[in-house]
């Protein structure tokens, strides 16, 4: 049982480029989340999805786009990468309602030059 898989694990790109981070979960969890983790800021929610085709903004959504055409996949796209988006990105999923904990992938370390 793979759980949550994020790819790539490491990515280096240049400012202005589009980059997509992938997230795949094998649990059929309804909720999925994208976070970024930065020193001094902790984990901050970018976007979340309650089900396929249902997405909504979190705390820091600017510059990011998400989609969820299938329950198991939740890609995050940086349409025009900026240096301030250099970070570690984590995907998470949750089985059901707000009384359930979230489970995280191992992250994508993204550097934008």
């Amino acid at each position: 049982d793979a759980g949550i898989t994020q790819s790539p694990r490491y990515k280096i790109t240049e400012t202005g480029r589009q980059v997509t981070l992938m997230c795949h979960q094998t649990w059929s969890h309804s909720y999925m989340f994208w976070y970024r983790q930065d020193l001094g800021h902790g984990l901050r929610l970018i976007y979340y999805s309650a089900a396929a085709d249902i997405t909504d903004k979190g705390e820091v959504p600017d510059g990011y786009v998400v989609s969820r055409s299938k329950t198991e996949n939740f890609p995050l796209t940086l349409e025009s990468a900026t240096r301030s988006q250099t970070s570690v990105y984590f995907c998470a999923s949750r089985q059901g309602g707000s009384n359930q904990p979230q489970h995280f992938g191992d992250g994508t370390r993204l550097s934008i030059l």
């Binding site: 949550i4 902790g42 984990l43 309650a50 309602g97 707000s98 904990p101 489970h103 995280f104 191992d106």
Partner: protein
């Protein structure tokens, strides 16, 4: 003021010590309390999950919640070098947002030295 306050440490203890990690919070709507452990270059891993006030024990780990004081703790007994990691508290409630937003502490860096 942040909704969840957690001392970032770092905390360094000898092997075998009892470790106490703590978080305070201000939002009385929080009902679900979690502790995550994060190793370097890995994602947060759920360690303990508790609902409302009380204690929960799992092996060497005990999670404690005091809702009247808005204070949660994680105790690690007989700490091991393999416990060296960053520990994140997190909490959520059923009021307000419908998606059950998790609010995290900043994380405490723990090192257990042999």
């Amino acid at each position: 003021q942040k909704e969840v306050e957690q001392d970032p440490g770092p905390l360094s203890v000898p092997e075998g010590a009892i470790v106490s990690l703590n978080c305070t919070y201000s939002n009385s709507a929080f009902q679900y309390f979690m502790w995550y452990r994060q190793y370097s270059r890995k994602g947060p891993e759920l360690l303990m999950y508790t609902y409302s006030s009380g204690n929960k024990e799992d092996g060497r780990f005990t999670a404690q919640v005091d809702k009247s004081s808005k204070y949660i703790s994680l105790f690690i007994r007989d700490s091991q070098p393999s416990d060296s990691a960053t520990y994140l508290c997190a909490m959520s409630g059923t009021g307000g947002t419908s998606y059950g937003k998790l609010t995290f502490g900043q994380g405490t860096i723990l090192t257990v030295h042999p």
